[in-house]
């Protein structure tokens, strides 16, 4: 019983992390029509930067949550810079943009290897959240529940931002019809930078708060990127609800798979993606054809 409960909590936690990662991925895809292949790198850079901040390697120690927020801002700046300096030069050439993000992801991975070495860095859970919550005979780790709470808060905040604010309305307009949005006076290219930065910030933040669970190691980017891809193919591009449901599904399959059939966990992860592609290529919640 405890085993199954723990597995369920782990699955939802992982789903929450994936949501933070793939929400930005999905928004960028919806708006700019490109899969941002640096998204896994943003996650990894976030994780490395965060661990550096609160490990005290720089001579000062930041509180875990402060470090997470600072890192999110830094990664956001990196993402916005990349959009401005590289992707902007290739406006309208989607294939070239995808290839540039791929190239940058290799460069980032190698730079991280150079800066932080090849050994995995394990991260302690932040103080105060190391305990368990007991429900009858079963116990659930507090930190994982905290991640779930954070993911839910972010999901609601993102939804409110998209549905209720002026910026959100502009983003939705850009996703629906960029040309028409330009015609009515929305500066879509500025939206690109904002959304790219926002997506990067979410990925970087997810990297930091995921670090105590996943630990930080070279190749983390390559582990996370395909998961974000699967989530978006499952849920449908540009759909917030799609990335939420997709993340939870992938979280469950990934964790249950690893517990029950460890050798094939990675494989069965992609089965729902294959099913969706065959039966509903636009994704579960996608309006536009994938």
């Amino acid at each position: 019983m405890t085993f199954w409960l723990l597995l369920t909590v782990n699955s939802v936690t992982f789903g929450g992390l994936l949501f933070l990662l793939s929400a930005g991925f999905s928004l960028i895809f919806g708006l700019m029509r490109i899969p941002n292949l640096t998204h896994g790198s943003m996650f990894m850079v976030g994780a490395y930067l965060g661990t550096t901040f609160f490990s005290g390697a720089l001579g000062f120690t930041l509180n875990f949550w402060v470090a997470a927020i600072v890192t999110a801002f830094e990664v956001a700046v990196l993402g916005a810079l990349m959009e401005r300096l590289l992707l902007r030069r290739l406006a309208g050439q989607q294939l070239a943009q995808v290839l540039v993000t791929l190239g940058v992801s290799f460069m980032v991975a190698d730079l991280c290897l150079m800066a932080w070495g090849g050994d995995p860095i394990s991260v302690e859970t932040p103080p105060g959240l190391g305990g368990f919550i007991r429900v009858g005979t079963a116990a659930a780790p507090l930190y994982r529940l905290a991640i779930i709470a954070i993911a839910v808060v972010f999901a609601i905040a993102l939804w409110l931002m998209l549905e209720r604010t002026r910026l959100g309305a502009m983003i939705r307009a850009g996703v629906d019809d960029p040309q028409m949005a330009r015609v009515v006076g929305i500066r879509v290219s500025q939206l690109f930078t904002i959304v790219f930065g926002l997506g990067a910030a979410l990925a970087g933040f997810a990297g930091v708060i995921g670090a105590p669970i996943l630990s930080v190691y070279p190749g983390l980017d390559q582990d996370m990127l395909p998961l974000a891809l699967v989530v978006v193919i499952l849920g449908g591009t540009g759909s917030l609800l799609g990335s939420f449901v997709g993340s939870i599904i992938v979280g469950f399959i990934y964790n249950f798979g690893q517990a029950l059939v460890p050798e094939l966990a990675y494989f069965i992860l992609f089965l729902p993606m294959v099913l969706v592609l065959v039966l509903r290529p636009q994704g579960l919640f996608g309006g536009q054809v994938l």
């Binding site: 290839l99 791929l102 190239g103 460069m107 150079m114 390559q222 494989f267 592609l277």
Partner: protein
């Protein structure tokens, strides 16, 4: 026509002469590597250049053929069985890839092939009972076709060269055939091709299969060349490397992928002699080529030499600009 025939003959003679010109085994091995990667790049170019479908999962197909050979040899089968079975397995996986990835085109095609390639990498990496995981599989011996031992660098180069020439010829015939023309049609105007009664999906599927066949052949050569296969061969950087060969040389040309393969293999070997950061270089070259020379080397050089030729043959009268329509 005659000039072209002479050029081809000279090129083949030059390739045959390579091991005699550079006698060191190390460099002959690099030449073999260039040829086998060129076959891989030719296969990928069928999709990228002629079908307009960019695959980021081809290293997966390449690796499947390699693993098939290695695993069957470990199980005690002979070389002939292993090679034939690897071709069949490679084509089966290609068919599966194609059936899924051709649900989409454009950017979504990239995403699906990327995800599929990562599945195969994940399987190779984590299905340890089948693939021996990160430790990889060793291949004890190279085959001996007609009793000729391929253990020396020169013999293996000659074998690779034969396969390479056949692959180039097959690709040239494929591209110039009516099917190749139809394929280019589906790249440029899929809806018109559909309206004209062509089965666009079938044409793309056929192209994918041919691409997969060349990829499997390259994979088989690779595993015999290295006598070792590990999950690294299937990882995303390997797919990206192959794509870089196609794009840097010039997608949609016959010569481009070959030049690109030579370029990437040489840079990779030269660079890794001095710096350990090959992945950084790979990324940087990728970005530079996409931003500054998106057409690739071969078309780029052809354009340069054409304009140089024009400049040398004296000032010609400038072609009149198209008449503005009333």
């Amino acid at each position: 026509m005659i000039a072209r025939g002479i050029a081809i003959a000279i090129a083949i003679l030059a390739l045959i002469a390579v091991p005699y010109a550079i006698t060191e085994a190390y460099y002959v091995n690099i030449a073999s590597q260039i040829l086998l990667y060129a076959i891989f790049a030719l296969g990928l170019n069928i999709l990228v250049g002629y079908a307009g479908l960019v695959s980021l999962g081809h290293a997966g197909l390449f690796g499947v053929a390699s693993y098939a050979v290695a695993s069957l040899l470990v199980l005690g089968y002979g070389h002939a069985v292993a090679i034939l079975a690897a071709l069949v397995i490679g084509l089966l996986f290609t068919a599966g890839f194609a059936a899924l990835a051709l649900r989409a085109t454009g950017i979504s095609f990239i995403m699906i092939t990327l995800a599929l390639g990562e599945i195969l990498w994940g399987l190779a990496y984590r299905w340890i009972s089948l693939t021996n995981g990160d430790n990889g599989v060793n291949v004890a011996t190279r085959p001996m076709p007609f009793g000729i031992a391929l253990s020396s660098a020169n013999a293996f180069y000659d074998m690779t060269l034969i396969v390479f020439v056949v692959a180039v010829a097959a690709t040239a015939i494929f591209v110039r055939s009516p099917f190749g023309a139809a394929l280019a049609g589906t790249r440029d105007q899929p809806r018109r091709m559909n309206a004209l009664g062509f089965h666009v999906w079938m044409i793309r599927f056929g192209a994918f299969m041919f691409s997969g066949l060349l990829t499997a052949v390259a994979g088989i050569l690779y595993v015999y060349y290295n006598r070792f296969i590990s999950p690294q061969t299937l990882a995303l950087p390997a797919s990206a490397e192959a794509l870089l060969m196609v794009i840097s040389g010039g997608a949609g040309t016959l010569l481009g992928p070959i030049v690109g393969a030579a370029l990437v293999v040489i840079i990779k070997n030269v660079v890794s002699a001095y710096v350990v950061r090959w992945n950084f270089m790979l990324g940087a070259i990728f970005v530079a080529i996409v931003v500054f020379m998106p057409e690739g080397l071969v078309p780029g050089m052809a354009r340069l030499s054409r304009s140089a030729w024009r400049a040398m043959s004296g000032p010609k009268k400038v072609l009149p600009a198209a008449e503005p329509k009333p």
